[in-house]
Symmetry: C2
Subunit: 212 residues, 2 copies
DNA sequence: TCGCCAAGTCAGCAGATGTTTACAACATGC
DNA sequence: GCATGTTGTAAACATCTGCTGACTTGGCGA
């Protein structure tokens, strides 16, 4: 795997297109490497030396730029939350949801897209990071529930929220199975392969058939 | 939390009902503690001293009885696979599936039931253990697919298998969300709460509506 | 050109971690 | 009682891990 996206700078580049001394660029290299490592091996399964090596950067710079391993993890989480929140907008409709989920779960954008989801499932033991994780997951569940007509004071709202959370669980489970086991055909499924089954799941869970 | 189930022996017990020297009992204490720890914190997030302390046993006995931390993990995995295979029988029907899933996911049996599922998602880095995990997950997916009419040479069998794997992903995702985030109402949902949504998921994914 | 500060390197510390080794406590057969 | 094998304990080990402090190197403005 590559050591990360090439640094995009306008001055001081060496022949390979990378700057030799570029704080922002180095920071980003560390973030990218850390996201991959944390997502793949979890927090405790990743060492700062692993990250530094993958980024092609000295270990001590992690402490310099992120204060600590936990700081780096929080930065990764914040970035992932940011991108995901942008992808799954606040006002989703049930009709568009399966397509969005399929693209996010199996998106081919650098192959780094599913990492975002995985990060949300990786506990670091750090209380503040876990708080971010929890809030993010809850926020996503509420967006799903809203798409199904849920409102904070909805009568029988718990039932709908539970179903939204189960739909979210399906998404997380798919990412996890794809990354953690080589389960086929799921692991190689394209967004196009996933959208029809996901539509059936979403419809089955969230499409109201009366109050049932 | 208790240090595990009381040792069941017939001789040499002390006043508290526990034998002071009982290899099989100690082994079991270690297995129970390890299952809880591994499921809750993952392989790398669990130290042998954690396990030994929770079991109330000396650390060195892990090496004695299981050769290594990896050996202990494999033993945990084998036990979990055993219990789960027994719970989800080979010939399941689509009708009974939601009830079985709900009970396995939210079963109150000691509160240790969902751990089994979690263990299947915890990678140890050990190649042999990961092989067990993969094979087990694949076996479960095939049982689900079979319930939906899938056969090894089924025409368009991949489509059905993919859907079965997504159903399995839902199960794993639910366990994960329940344990990893305190997401409500999902985390407190009883088997009874889960069975209706799960039925909708299973029906939506696996119940054939013609060949579609 | 030169001084200065940011960016990067290097070695090492203190604690944690998996494992081993030597030893003590106990139960059992004689 | 005593020898013997089993069970449990304690300490130490080599290595790994996160982090730090002193140092070097490079780039930029004066």
């Amino acid at each position: 795997m590559a050591t990360g996206s090439p640094r995009t700078s306008t001055t001081g580049e060496n022949p390979s297109g990378q700057r030799r001394r570029d704080a922002a660029g180095t920071r980003q290299l560390l973030l990218d490497a850390a996201r991959r490592r944390f997502a793949a091996h979890g927090y405790t399964g990743t060492t700062v030396r692993d990250i530094a090596d993958e980024a092609g950067v000295n270990v001590a710079l992690i402490s310099r730029y992120f204060a600590s391993k936990e700081g780096l993890f929080e930065a990764c989480l914040a970035g992932a939350v940011d991108e995901l929140s942008h992808a799954v907008t606040e006002n989703v409709t049930l009709d568009r949801l399966p397509q969005i989920m399929a693209e996010q779960l199996a998106g081919t954008g650098l192959g780094s897209r599913p990492n975002q989801f995985l990060l949300l499932l990786r506990s670091s033991g750090d209380e503040r990071a876990d708080q971010i994780r929890r809030n993010t997951v809850r926020s996503f569940a509420e967006r799903l529930a809203s798409a199904a007509g849920w409102r904070p004071d909805h009568p029988d709202g718990d039932r709908l929220m539970l179903r939204a959370q189960i739909a979210l669980a399906t998404a997380f489970g798919i990412v996890l199975l794809r990354s953690s086991t080589g389960l086929e055909p799921l692991s190689s499924a394209t967004p196009h392969d996933l959208v029809a089954p996901l539509r059936d799941v979403v419809d089955g869970l969230l499409r109201e058939r009366g109050t049932r």
